[in-house]
């Protein structure tokens, strides 16, 4: 049963755009409640040790202060630590705020001051003081790598490195062209515009409504019910709008625990918000050291790939990412050996940050590929083409689609790659050295089980609902588009409901799977509505659609009509009135096809081309041009899709040039914990970025042919910039970010 597609594939403005730019879209910290109390978290000033004494007297005496919670009087919460595990917790023991006198990471919450006003809470929080007995702390990955280990327990959803295939060492030794180098990428901290906040509104019946910054309302709900022993019916979590999250909102952050704990203990509504500097003490992209060894024959065919990574994690959880597996599947090679280890640091547990694993791992791989191209004296793009893989050799599976060759072709053409001169330092513009570099990007295209409902009213209005989140990606809009097209309605006739834990089950918004998962569920629900509608229509006396099968009809402009003869049809309103029903509501489900997954695997691909201008005397790098060509299956909304790629590319430029947690290892503390000194790109750093979506038909990645776009834009971008810097200067900088001192060095 098809319809006239009118919205999918068109650049469509965000349906929530006007609300956002006029300030009417409410975020977690903007909800109010009668008698709302305000909490301020006090953070530890040491990275490891014990709290000998915590002084709260002065703070308690401060006007307006209601209560101060410390480890000595923390409210009731689950004792067993598995109860604290959220849906995406890595193996280990989840952090339990105020659980004991032990401090295991810098900035650990050690108290919550609750007061009648935000100002009083904040002011009094500065009066809480702790005496510590410090322990030795470890924060330097370069030192702690000596104690690295393979995580004994795998993180759910993150593949382990595959077993070695062939004989990588042997092939490496015998190959005529080879190299092995170590790359370091600094820890990066999440800095979405919106701070983490929870407003816990306590109803007269004791039920809690949580306005919460999260990427998964149902994850927060189950965390709260598990930790505090509450019933699901008594806790509703709302996250209609999320001011950026990038992975930081996948797991509940401290403020959720504190807001609920204080609310339950004090029987009042409570809001707790993190401060910007406290945002530097939550999950982050871990610092990582990677050694990549590559070897090829004289024609550039890969003979050996070795990729070994060591990343930081906390003392209490084994956070894991898929860092190295990309090196076993992106190019064809018979001899592959990959390893991934962790080292414990006195920090909070790292967390997913846009393309976790791939953003780091593919950067190292793609820099190494560029180095190999120069060692073999083969054009870097040509080297990738020579080694093009048509299946996933890690898992020995077919790919559902892979239009990466089109990304190479269209990206190179748009960039003008054929005008590039091979030799480093061979292109100039006045005083500037010009460099052109490229890289490949890859990310998994996955689906998660998702449920949606669709409710069609007699007046032709459609409401679609699922608990999914929109973290700024455009979920509100694409689901509206899908609903409209599925039932042949204008966008205005469709209302999406998302961001509420009470809606049909949806996973956390992460992994770039929301468009494919929630989109397919909405499509399925709408398909059910159409079938029901036809059933009703066919049963009406003298129905012009009496003998029609679902394949024969379509919905168009509020009318169910025969495709072959559109003059024969009935309007939605007529069908419902005549059938005596006010609305039709159906449920749709989407889930990965387990059987298909035995044979197939699905990835998104990209080719990134970057131009840099380097003032070599002063070390200043400008990224003057980027072309990112992406193969991501069906593009639902080229406008929001483009924004995702732009954001990813900007973040990749940040990884290349700017982003870096500067840790004082004497103090065990990140020192640039504000966004004046923690640099990410600003407007002046960003020039032309051209986004290309190549045609890619995929009928297996998801029922609606979508692969997802949230993460692919960052993958490979830092490598393309680094490779361009080499082409400009002849210098390999293997330490990210490539700040100007590193250009001056060498």
């Amino acid at each position: 049963m098809d319809t006239l597609i009118t919205h999918i594939g068109r650049p469509t403005r965000r349906v929530d755009g006007q609300l956002k730019v006029t300030g009417r879209a409410k975020y977690a910290a903007e909800y109010d409640a009668p008698g709302l109390l305000h909490g301020a978290i006090v953070s530890s000033s040491i990275p490891a040790g014990r709290i000998v004494r915590i002084h709260t007297d002065k703070a308690k005496a401060f006007p307006g202060v209601v209560e101060i919670f410390t480890h000595e009087n923390r409210g009731k919460a689950a004792w067993l630590d598995y109860k604290w595990r959220d849906q995406v917790a890595p193996p280990g023991h989840p952090f339990r705020p105020l659980h004991s006198d032990r401090v295991v990471f810098d900035g650990q919450p050690i108290a919550l001051v609750v007061a009648e006003s935000y100002e009083a809470a904040r002011d009094a929080a500065t009066l809480v003081h702790a005496d510590y007995q410090p322990d030795e702390h470890r924060t330097d990955l370069l030192v702690e790598r000596e104690r690295s280990y393979q995580p004994p327990k795998k993180r759910s959803g993150v593949p382990k490195p595959p077993s070695p295939r062939g004989d990588a060492e042997g092939a490496f030794d015998q190959a005529p062209v080879k190299l092995a180098n170590t790359y370091r990428i600094a820890a990066e901290h999440h800095n979405p515009m919106e701070l983490f906040a929870t407003t816990c509104v306590r109803g007269g019946d004791g039920k809690l409504t949580l306005y919460e910054k999260t990427q998964g309302s149902q994850n927060s709900q189950s965390y709260v019910t598990s930790v505090f022993g509450l019933k699901s019916d008594d806790v509703e979590v709302i996250n209609h709008y999320v001011g950026g999250a990038f992975g930081s909102g996948l797991r509940p952050q401290h403020q959720l625990f504190f807001a609920v704990m204080a609310s339950l203990e004090l029987e009042r509504s409570v809001r707790v918000s993190l401060t910007r500097d406290q945002m530097f003490h939550i999950g982050y992209r871990p610092e990582i050291l990677q050694t990549v060894g590559l070897a090829c024959d004289a024609e550039g065919r890969l003979q050996a790939v070795m990729h070994d990574a060591t990343a930081g994690t906390s003392h209490f959880e084994d956070y894991q990412e898929n860092v190295v597996n990309w090196s076993g599947l992106l190019y064809r090679c018979d001899n592959v050996r990959l390893s991934y280890e962790l080292a414990k640091l006195n920090t909070y547990t790292p967390c997913d940050m846009r393309a976790p694993g791939a953003a780091s791992g593919v950067t190292a791989l793609e820099c190494a590929m560029d180095e190999l191209a120069y060692a073999a004296r083969i054009d870097p793009l040509e080297l990738r083409r020579i080694n093009f893989a048509t299946r996933d050799e890690n898992d020995n599976k077919e790919l559902t689609s892979k239009a990466l060759d089109a990304c190479y072709d269209e990206g190179a053409a748009a960039f003008g790659w054929d005008k590039r001169s091979f030799e480093p330092r061979s292109m100039r513009d006045g005083r500037d050295l010009i460099g052109w570099g490229m890289a490949t990007g890859v990310w998994e295209a996955s689906m998660q089980k998702t449920v949606a409902t669709a409710k069609l009213s007699a007046n032709g209005h459609l409401e679609i609902a699922t608990a999914s989140s929109d973290i700024g990606t455009g979920t509100w809009t694409i689901l509206t588009q899908i609903g409209a097209d599925a039932l042949g309605l204008p966008l205005e006739a469709v209302t999406a409901r998302i961001g509420e834990s009470g809606l049909p089950a949806s996973p956390i918004e992460g992994g770039s799977w929301t468009a494919a998962s929630a989109g397919s569920a909405v499509q399925a629900a709408c398909d059910e509505v159409r079938k029901s509608l036809l059933k009703q229509a066919a049963g009406l006396p003298g129905s012009p659609l009496a003998d029609a099968s679902p394949e024969d009809v379509r919905l168009n402009a509020g009318r169910l009509e025969l495709k072959a003869d559109p003059s024969r049809g009935i309007s939605i309103g007529e069908i419902m009135t005549a059938s005596g029903i006010g609305e039709i509501e159906e449920e749709g489900k989407a889930a990965p096809d387990k059987l298909q997954m035995l044979k197939y695997v699905s990835y998104t691909h990209s080719a990134i081309f970057a131009e840099v201008a380097v003032d070599e005397e002063l070390g200043v790098i400008r990224v003057t041009r980027v072309v990112c060509a992406t193969a991501a299956g069906r593009i639902l909304n080229p406008k929001t899709a483009r924004s995702q790629i732009l954001g990813g590319v900007v973040m990749g430029i940040g990884m290349a040039l700017h982003e870096e947690a500067m840790t004082d290892h004497h103090l065990g503390r990140v020192m640039n914990h504000n966004i004046a000194e923690y640099h990410m790109p600003v407007n002046a750093d960003i020039h032309d970025i051209e986004v290309i979506f190549v045609a890619e038909h995929d009928d297996k990645a998801s029922p609606i042919g979508v692969k997802g776009l949230g993460e692919i834009g960052i993958v490979g971008t830092a490598a393309a910039v680094a490779n361009a810097v080499f082409h400009a200067t002849g210098k390999r900088i293997r330490d990210f970010p490539m700040t100007l001192d590193k250009v001056l060095q060498n």
């Binding site: 100002e119 500037d432 020192m671 001192d741 001056l744």
Partner: protein, 338 residues
């Protein structure tokens, strides 16, 4: 942030009296730095005296052809003033190299002089810092010191002064007008900010109760031979790793007078008058500029992360002098270094 008393001053005398009466009272104008510091619990004034209503927001021409800039003239108003653009483009350029338009719209001339260091440790009330808490120690010396000073440091402090505007004012030989309980006085710009020595808590030579009323710049003779070159970790909205304000008077290709001030390298805008004097009379060429830069940096000391600044400062001074000599001042709009 600690609670504080807020007083809005209606006259200069009122303001001075209100500040002088309370040892930890502070004046507030744009608040772009002070309010941040209060939020971070770094500054805890018990009284804030709002001076925004004082009649200090005009730019007047002096009889000698210079300008007297009221303390409350905003950075934006100053940078875009046609007299400043025409006769003191170095000052305009330096201001526009700093902060963001929003901040420049709020920040004032007086406040710019009084902004405090961006040292990570100074900003973090959980760490020791001799500037914030005298005698507590300086973790920046063995710690994270990428943005710290290489000249004029002490064992107590290696912080830098973060202003761009002040670097230009130092090169322009400005004078600071202050008013206090004891009357008014003027302070030559070079004597306004101080080196940390063993009292790093003092950024400048003002006394408690004194208020900056104006900054005066004498007439400029540099024509197009000036530049403000700022090198930073991203192309906008970042403090200088090294910045150079350079101004030359030339007779043909011979240097008559050279003024070079550096930002990002010391506790105050850094000038070396002996080196400047040595440059006078020389041919304006790369060799002379190199010698000059070497001389300025003779006593420079790196602390690890910031050691690259010595070499960077040398290169930046040479480039800035080349720009000034060529009459091609650094543009602040397209962020491309010329």
């Amino acid at each position: 942030m600690k609670r504080f008393e807020y007083i809005r001053a209606e006259s200069i005398d009122d303001a001075i009296a209100a500040i002088a009466a309370v040892p930890d009272a502070r004046a507030v104008a744009g608040g772009t730095n002070l309010i941040d510091l209060m939020k971070y619990d770094v500054a805890q004034p018990s009284r804030l005296v709002d001076i925004n209503r004082l009649p200090l927001d005009t730019i007047e021409e002096t009889s000698e052809g210079g300008l007297k800039i009221g303390a409350l003239v905003t950075n934006s108003a100053l940078a875009w003033d046609t007299r400043v653009e025409e006769h003191f483009p170095l000052l305009s350029s330096a201001i526009l190299a700093g902060a963001s338009p929003q901040l420049r719209n709020a920040a004032t001339t007086g406040g710019n002089l009084l902004q405090r260091t961006r040292c990570y440790y100074f900003y973090d009330a959980c760490t020791p810092c001799n500037k914030r808490e005298p005698g507590s120690g300086c973790p920046a010396i063995p710690g994270v010191n990428r943005i710290h000073a290489i000249l004029g440091t002490s064992d107590a402090c290696i912080a830098t002064h973060p202003s761009d505007m002040c670097v230009a004012l130092a090169a322009l030989d400005a004078t600071v007008h202050v008013a206090g309980p004891g009357g008014t006085r003027t302070i030559p710009f070079a004597d306004f900010h101080r080196l940390p020595g063993d009292q790093p808590e003092l950024d400048n030579t003002m006394r408690h109760g004194e208020l900056i009323t104006a900054v005066e710049v004498p007439p400029s003779r540099f024509g197009a031979h000036h530049t403000y070159l700022k090198i930073r970790d991203r192309l906008s909205y970042a403090f200088a790793l090294v910045s150079v304000a350079a101004a030359l008077t030339l007779d043909g290709d011979r240097i008559v007078e050279a003024r070079v001030a550096m930002g990002g390298v010391a506790h105050k805008p850094w000038r070396d008058r002996l080196a400047e004097a040595d440059l006078a009379g020389k041919q304006a060429d790369a060799a002379a500029f190199q010698d000059f830069a070497d001389q300025v940096l003779e006593g420079a000391v790196g602390y690890g992360h910031n050691s690259f600044k010595i070499d960077l400062a040398r290169r930046a001074m040479v480039r800035a002098l080349e720009q000034a000599a060529a009459g091609t001042p650094q543009r602040q709009t397209d962020k491309r270094i010329n």
